[in-house]
Subunit: 540 residues, 2 copies
């Protein structure tokens, strides 16, 4: 539908007439029944429930070509799954570039009836961060798939709960910029989001990022934040002036409304890790009974410079699990080293992992693996590591890679280490941030390092209090190691959460215990070769 995420009208994929989609709220232990009817004219659709592990329901993970067939126009699909753990989650499209088109919303799971969180607060607020382009996602797909590739560029606008400003600025009078001050009634679709608070209370602010590209830094003017949750898991609380939020991350922070109640304050999100061409997103922390139309009297909070990686690394390293949290098995059964490189295939720019650029098959893996359909995807698994001798600090001497749809088959219940190895991109002196997101599991982030990962580095892994998460970032020219237990029967994507990077092949697929999966609904796999099989054989 038409919508104005910023002051320029565009078209969004909306849910029930809303952008972002409605917030889904449940209690831990609930089983959700989410009825999706696809009302798009010609496009299929799926929705991924980001951070929900889908234990026992791998067909409800909402990943086209992996867990299910896209739901065709006019068709319906019921996502039925248990939210087993309280936390801050979100949902989003996982087909083509539909997340960029605005298909996302918040999913919040409260503690079960009679349970208590491990921290206290008086009130709760929630924001979903995203980024927005004026060019439609279909054109973006064509741009990315062109030879030479046309990069989508930086977003025009950052959004907080779907709201941002492009041609005007709320904070124009604090800057020398030529952008005009916004003249807003407050009823505009792009009017800033207002977080209403009472003075002298402790608030829990839930934060999630569904950005297609932007890594963000979030700050609240004049207020410190205490980080207590990351990706649905408790963390050892620590205080920060500002926090980094990568695409795929979620956090809860506590803050105290201890400032003068006769003013309002900024909540701002700025771009990290890429030279920003996008102004900060601004929301208003509104101290009641002050009118929300009173703009803050001080300038928006300052964030670290976009390329202040030491500050980002310090923030990431500070995130540790709360004592009493699950700890990782002491030794892995298998270690994958996934080299992330920007490559070419026949002149098309791609992202590749161990020199393979992921191309998703037509038949969802979950069905083709469960039913032993052999020609649905590449039979050969991708390599466990890149050939030795690759210099991660320099552009590749031969940047050509190949397409692949093979999967890593993980032994059920085995412990797997994955070292995500960053490298120089195609251009000299460029290495980017990539937030990697794992479906169906949390992993422990056991280590970060600079340059090339060496076997000896594993000795330094943090096995005592590593954070338990579903998204972990790799920093430029560095590596990040995660450990998880392959205990969830299903087929699971593990990929860079930057949507255009995934579109260009930056992901891998894990399969584990698929033979144990029972009850895949026909409608989840009624396409491709599994569809043919079902038609041949009748009901299973």
């Amino acid at each position: 539908m038409h919508w104005s995420p910023d002051d320029q009208e565009g078209v969004v994929i909306a849910i029930n007439g809303q952008f972002p989609g409605p917030t889904i709220r449940a209690r831990a232990g609930d089983t959700l029944h989410l009825h999706l009817t696809n009302k798009l004219h010609t496009e299929g659709v799926v929705i991924h429930w980001h951070g929900i592990r889908q234990i026992g329901t791998p067909w409800a993970d909402g990943t086209a070509s992996i867990s299910q067939c896209a739901i065709n126009p006019g068709e319906a699909f019921v996502y039925r799954f248990k939210v087993d753990r309280a936390g801050t989650y979100f949902y989003h499209g996982h087909y083509g570039m539909q997340r960029s088109a605005g298909l996302y919303g918040s999913l919040i799971v409260d503690v079960g009836e009679g349970e208590k969180e491990k921290f206290e607060y008086d009130g709760e607020l929630s924001i979903l961060l995203s980024d927005w382009w004026h060019k439609g996602s279909r054109e973006q797909e064509v741009d990315l798939s062109s030879k030479p590739m046309r990069w989508i560029g930086e977003p025009q606008t950052l959004l907080i709960n779907g709201r941002g400003q492009f041609n005007c600025s709320l904070a124009a009078h604090f800057s020398n910029s030529t952008v005009a001050p916004c003249k807003l009634s407050g009823n505009e679709q792009y009017a800033p989001y207002i977080l209403k608070v009472h003075p002298n209370k402790t608030y829990r602010l839930r934060i999630a990022s569904s950005t297609a590209l932007a890594s963000l830094n979030l700050a609240i003017g004049n207020h410190k934040m205490r980080v207590v949750e990351a990706d649905g898991n408790y963390v050892k609380p620590f205080t920060a002036d500002n926090i980094d939020v990568y695409s795929g991350d979620s956090y809860s922070v506590l803050f105290r409304t201890d400032q003068s109640p006769s003013h309002n304050y900024w909540l701002s999100a700025t771009v990290r890790g890429r030279e920003p061409h996008t102004p900060p997103a601004l929301a208003i922390l509104n101290y009641l009974p002050t009118s929300p139309s009173h703009l803050p009297t001080s300038p928006p909070p300052t964030s670290p410079r976009w390329d202040d990686y030491p500050s980002s690394k310090a923030f990431s390293h500070q995130i540790l699990s709360l004592p009493g949290s699950p700890t990782p098995p002491k030794t892995p059964h298998r270690r994958l080293i996934l080299l992330n490189t920007q490559t070419y295939i026949n002149g098309y720019t791609k992202w590749s992992i161990n020199n393979i650029s992921l191309t998703l098959p037509t038949t969802p893996y979950l069905g083709s693996i469960k039913y032993n359909i052999t020609n649905a995807f590449d039979a050969k698994s991708p390599p466990d590591r890149a050939p030795p001798g690759y210099n991660v600090m320099r552009p590749a001497p031969n940047p050509n890679s190949t397409y692949g749809s093979g999967v890593y088959v993980l032994e059920f219940n085995s412990t797997v280490d994955v070292v995500l190895q960053n490298a120089n991109a195609l251009k000299d002196n460029v290495s980017e941030i990539h937030p990697w997101h794992l479906h169906g599991h949390d992993f422990w982030v056991v280590g970060y390092g600079e340059g090339e990962f060496k076997e000896g580095d594993a000795a330094g892994f943090n096995l005592r209090d590593p954070p338990y998460r579903n998204t972990a970032v790799i920093f430029p020219y560095g590596w990040t190691a995660v450990r998880f237990v392959a205990d969830n029967p299903g087929v699971w994507a593990f990929h860079c959460h930057i949507e255009p990077h995934l579109h260009l092949g930056m992901g891998v697929v894990f399969a584990e215990g698929v033979e144990r999966v029972r009850g895949i609904p026909n409608e989840a796999i009624a396409c491709g070769l599994t569809g043919k099989m079902l038609m041949r054989n009748g009901t299973r």
Copy 2:
């Protein structure tokens, strides 16, 4: 892919890297095997073979929701059908607004080996006409489906074989317009199409129109045309300075290259029936050995004024079948009177037929009717005529209509008359041209009239030499009567060929002899309720 149909780059749906799609050429009696693989990222696709009757292969008609399920991304479908009759045809998308997005191409069927056409010529040329908007078709769909509706407006550019000019004009020096002359090397994607001819020869020019909206008038400067074929059928030859070509029409004309061979000449197409905001499309008739870069020295040919309906009607009335052509049965078994009105449904603007705005079901009719699936579409057939007393000359006192997916079930082998009754649209003093196209059949155009059709008008029907066609136009405030024999088992769309009008509900569905259909491929109906049936029952 990126393409510049005019001098502004856009995105088109292309086939094998070509826009328009490749010309398909066959001989009468051939069976074509057309392998379609859908390489779009998230959209389904179908292709309709416009003018091919699909006798015995109704599942190959390429109409989403009617003859087949849309072919999903990554999937393939083979269109296998016989081209039983020589003629000038074309093909195009028939799902959402994919025709507007550029999914079309020419389909030419030559006479069978050893056969001869009923007219002679030395050489052949072919043009496919279309119209082009700078706004993408997805945005157009959203615009049309909004409340209030946002009309797509007139096209930015008219295209001849996919080529037009927007910011510049080939004929700038002949007009007072402020548009700059084009500076072209000839290699541009939007350089004009060149029709190369030798002097003193007779050429057959094949013409088809795949426009989304525009009715066109075509002329060749300094050359008269002799019309010999319409929609794959011979017509009584007649000579014209210019010809009207409505969306869905195809013609062959003969012309003699009897002009000075030291000049080139214009072929131009201008808008009919809507106040034009689009400059004429121009192609170059290039007399060899003159260089094609020598622009014609005289101004483009003049066309009738856009609202010169008497001239359009005179042209349509002139089209009669060649003696020896099939003639219609003398009396119909059933007469449908289809009142075309512009209406509202809950504030959404629609087009309706007998007060019902067609909404296509998720399950293709061909499958649901063949397999007696009762809840796939409205069980009730739409009415055979509108309630009496409707004043076609005035806006409706109550312009509300309802959605409907019912079909007209035609007795197999019966003769059916359809009177297409035009009316005033929502606004005072507006009544538009609508070219109606019938799938699966040709019809005889037995009469045209002004105002409201009266029973007595049938006495004046031309049953002697009515043209046999698949597309017929209704003029403002008038009616057009067609007769056909329901002798082709299948389910067939009959609709206004203006794509946004069809999108807004301007069509009906005919079903005949579906119980006789044998051999529907599973992959044509592997969606919706027929998909569920196939999975339940296994192969049929």
